[in-house]
Structures are given as structure tokens and as C-alpha cells.
């Protein structure tokens, strides 16, 4: 049992309620975020706290290099390579490391497999944690109060909004990303995809299916 002295039942409660003061400024600034962000970029640049070219590089990285196609390829590989799938499910950090797919907000990975018995969904109720190196940047809904509040108590209601209906016997397991472990859902391989190439299979794997709010597309379905 962790030690505690009764004064702080949690040994690491170093709370700093005074930090709230620093948010008082927002009442005085313009409401339009575009104006405020422009002023902040100008200030940070003048202070040497940011290089605008580095901003460009970060934006470019997630606009063109890092996105859900990366995760889709991992899923397609797991569908066609049983040995890889086993390694992915047993130790995703290692399996993805071998493919050089680890990165910031995705250094500690767990892959969870959807089956007819279990449907997995991923959320971060406390903020917006998401496996960036595999899925790119999260959509607004993932980071929103409705998703964060509802999916842990009414996952089927959330799935309904996404047009997903599960059999009554399927168990839903929601993974709340409270630490730095990041979760990738491996959706079920759709029927009628025997003989398809990894590339063709990857095209069926939607971003939402790797979060758990969707399922992989059926063969012949339009790309998302």
C-alpha cells in the first residue's frame, strides 16, 4: 500500500490552485481566436520562443506524412499475416517498433482486436489522448465533451450516431486512455475479402474503425 500521512491521502497531491489566476487574462482579450493566435505567434517569434518555419513543418507533417493510412496498413498486415497479428496483439510496442512506426504520443502501444464477441472503443475522457503516429490528428468529435462524457456510459448510443449496430450478445469494452499507453483497435476483417492484397485491404480500414466508432468497409464500398 502506498504510504500516506493522512494529511495527503494521495502522496502526490501537490495542487497549485493559484494557477487559475493565469487564466483571468482571457476575460480581457478579444473573443476571436484568430486575432489572439496571430498575436501569440508574433510574440513568440519576437521572443525567440518559436520559429515560424518549425510551425510550418509540424503542420506539414500531419497534413501529408502522418495520418490514418499508416494504421490502416498495420491492420491490413495483421489480417494477412497471422504471425504478425499474434505479435501485434501480444506486444504492440515491439511489433510496431520493428516497423519503425512508434513516435510521439504512440511510444507505448496496445492493439485490441474486435471479434464477434467483443467490440473495442477508445476514448480519452480527461483530455484528447490519441495514437498520433498511426492515426494522425484526432477529429474534433473525439476531443469533444459529448464523446468524452458519453462513450464510457452509453457506448451503444454513441455507436448509433455513427450508424453502427452491434449484436446484443457482443460485449463492448471501452479503453479510457488515462496514461501514455495508446490504443489501436484492430477491426474485424470484412467477409468476402479473401485473396485481396494488403493494399486493397488497407483501403477498407477507416479511421473510425481503428477508434472503434466504425467498422471496416465491405469490399466494393466507397472510400471514406
Amino acid at each position: 500500500m502506498s504510504p500516506h500521512d493522512g494529511k495527503h491521502a494521495h502522496p502526490h497531491d501537490h495542487g497549485e490552485p493559484g494557477l487559475a489566476e493565469h487564466h483571468h487574462i482571457h476575460a480581457q482579450l478579444p473573443s476571436d481566436p484568430a486575432l489572439r493566435v496571430k498575436a501569440l505567434e508574433s510574440l513568440l517569434t519576437e521572443k525567440g520562443l518559436v520559429d515560424p518555419a518549425a510551425i510550418d513543418a509540424w503542420v506539414e507533417l500531419y497534413e501529408s506524412k502522418i495520418g490514418p493510412r499508416i494504421g490502416a496498413k498495420v491492420v491490413a498486415k495483421s489480417w494477412t499475416d497471422p504471425d504478425f497479428k499474434q505479435r501485434l496483439l501480444a506486444d504492440a510496442t515491439r511489433a510496431l517498433g520493428e516497423l519503425d512506426l512508434l513516435g510521439n504520443q504512440g511510444q507505448h502501444m496496445v492493439a485490441v482486436e474486435n471479434t464477434p464477441q467483443t467490440h473495442n472503443m477508445v476514448v480519452c475522457t480527461l483530455c484528447s489522448c490519441y495514437p498520433l503516429p498511426l492515426l494522425g490528428l484526432p477529429p474534433a468529435w473525439y476531443k469533444s465533451a459529448p464523446y468524452r462524457s458519453r462513450v464510457v456510459i452509453d457506448p451503444r448510443g454513441v455507436l448509433k450516431e455513427f450508424g453502427v449496430k452491434l449484436p446484443a450478445e457482443t460485449k463492448v469494452r471501452v479503453w479510457d486512455s488515462t496514461a501514455e499507453v495508446r490504443y489501436l483497435v484492430v477491426p474485424e476483417r470484412p467477409k468476402g475479402t479473401e485473396g485481396m492484397s494488403e493494399e486493397q485491404l488497407a483501403a477498407l480500414v477507416t479511421r473510425d474503425s481503428m477508434i472503434g466508432t466504425g467498422q471496416a468497409l465491405k469490399p466494393g464500398a466507397a472510400k471514406p
Binding site: 494521495h10 462524457s149 457482443t170
Partner: protein, 219 residues
């Protein structure tokens, strides 16, 4: 902190309403703010845990009404003020004061890819063996720290089963408050919906949370 951010299980926030073909950015300023947070220098102590805590301290009505990247704006500004790295006037004007300090060590574009590749490793060695075993029943403690924690209110006091053990991880509760990394064993604990939400909930469904050893007690 029992803050507005601790949303699990709340009602009343409306439908998820996902946007079809949602663009990466809803306005150019979002991209700039994203890049600023990633490429910008923050005052000492502003690791990801302290960043998250400062975000949690956004006034609740602003937390709920302002959009995600505006949260990043508000958090960056609060961090600068907290660290004494900017004044309110500088933030309002967007210009450094005449006597204001300047640095020359901002992240360069060629440093972006290596940062993306290498940063964010939080596993650490812990000297003591893990207290809990896979399959063991544990209870999430009923604690209400005023500082940063990653123990959501909806699991406190609830009994679950240890599902995974992740070894030692940096403890946010300490790391957010400049009290060192204080790593502890980290576990994924699975809670049944009936345990969390009561006898009217699904008999089958579960929610898992990743919880540090000091968040847990044997059950």
C-alpha cells in the same frame, strides 16, 4: 483535480454529431496554434503533465465553450504567465516589451521529425516489484486530489480486475507539479459497467482505465 475536464459519465453535452469529411483544420489559426504548441518553447517544468494540468484549470465555462485549439492557446498563454516568460501586455499586443528577454534556441524545422520520432517515452525503471498481479481484484481509491491526477471520478471507489501491467511509468500527479517523475507501476484495470453505473447498466460491457499503483488498493 475534480475539474470540468473530468467528463466521463456526464449527461447533457448533446450528441457527438461527427462531421463527415472533417478537414484537419477548421480555420488557418488552428494549424498555427497546433504548430506553435509543438514547435514552441515552454517555461521550465512544462512537460506534458503540467501542460494538461494548466489546461484543466481553464475556467469551466471557457473550457466548455471554446474550441480545442483555443484551449491550446489559453494553456500556452497561462504557461507563459506562470513561468514569467510574458506579461499580460505583451500577450495582448503580440509584441515583446522593449526590455523583454529573448531566446535563440527555438526548435528548427530540421528538428521536427526527430522530435516526433523520439519524444514521449514515459517508461521508467521502478525499484519495487509490482504490488498487483494480472487478474487481481483491485479498488480504485476514493481520493480527490486538488492537483493533477489521471484517476477519473467515475472509477473512484470501484472494484475492477487488473488486465495489463505496463511496468513503470512517469507519475503525472508528481510530474505536473515539478515534484519529479516519481515513476510507479502502471496497470490497465477493467471495470464492469454494472460496477461503474449500477444494476441497470449492461451486464456485459466494460470500461478500462490505465491507473498507477498509488491510485489502487487491494479489493
Amino acid at each position: 483535480m475534480n475539474g470540468i475536464h473530468d467528463l466521463g459519465g456526464m449527461h447533457g453535452h448533446g450528441p457527438v454529431a461527427p462531421e463527415t469529411n472533417e478537414p484537419l483544420w477548421h480555420a488557418p489559426w488552428e494549424a498555427r496554434m497546433f504548430g506553435m504548441r509543438r514547435g514552441g518553447t515552454l517555461p521550465p517544468g512544462y512537460n506534458i503533465d503540467r501542460w494538461r494540468h494548466v489546461r484543466e484549470m481553464i475556467p469551466p465555462d471557457l473550457y466548455l465553450s471554446r474550441s480545442y485549439y483555443d484551449h491550446w492557446y489559453m494553456s500556452y498563454v497561462a504557461a507563459l504567465l506562470d513561468g514569467g516568460w510574458a506579461t499580460a501586455e505583451e500577450i495582448a499586443s503580440g509584441h515583446v516589451a522593449p526590455d523583454g528577454a529573448k531566446r535563440n534556441d527555438a526548435m528548427r524545422p530540421d528538428q521536427v521529425w526527430p522530435a516526433q520520432k523520439k519524444s514521449g517515452v514515459f517508461t521508467r525503471t521502478v525499484d519495487t516489484p509490482p504490488l498487483f498481479a494480472i487478474g487481481q481484484r483491485v479498488r480504485a481509491r476514493n481520493i480527490h486530489p486538488v492537483g493533477h491526477t489521471r484517476l477519473p471520478r467515475y472509477v473512484r471507489g470501484k472494484v475492477g480486475i487488473v488486465h495489463l501491467h505496463h511496468g513503470g511509468h512517469v507519475l503525472p500527479d508528481a510530474n505536473a507539479h515539478k515534484a519529479g517523475e516519481a515513476p510507479q507501476h502502471l496497470y490497465t484495470v477493467a471495470f464492469s459497467f454494472r460496477e461503474l453505473w449500477g444494476p441497470d447498466a449492461s451486464a456485459r460491457d466494460e470500461a478500462c482505465a490505465d491507473l498507477w499503483e498509488s491510485y489502487l488498493e487491494p479489493a
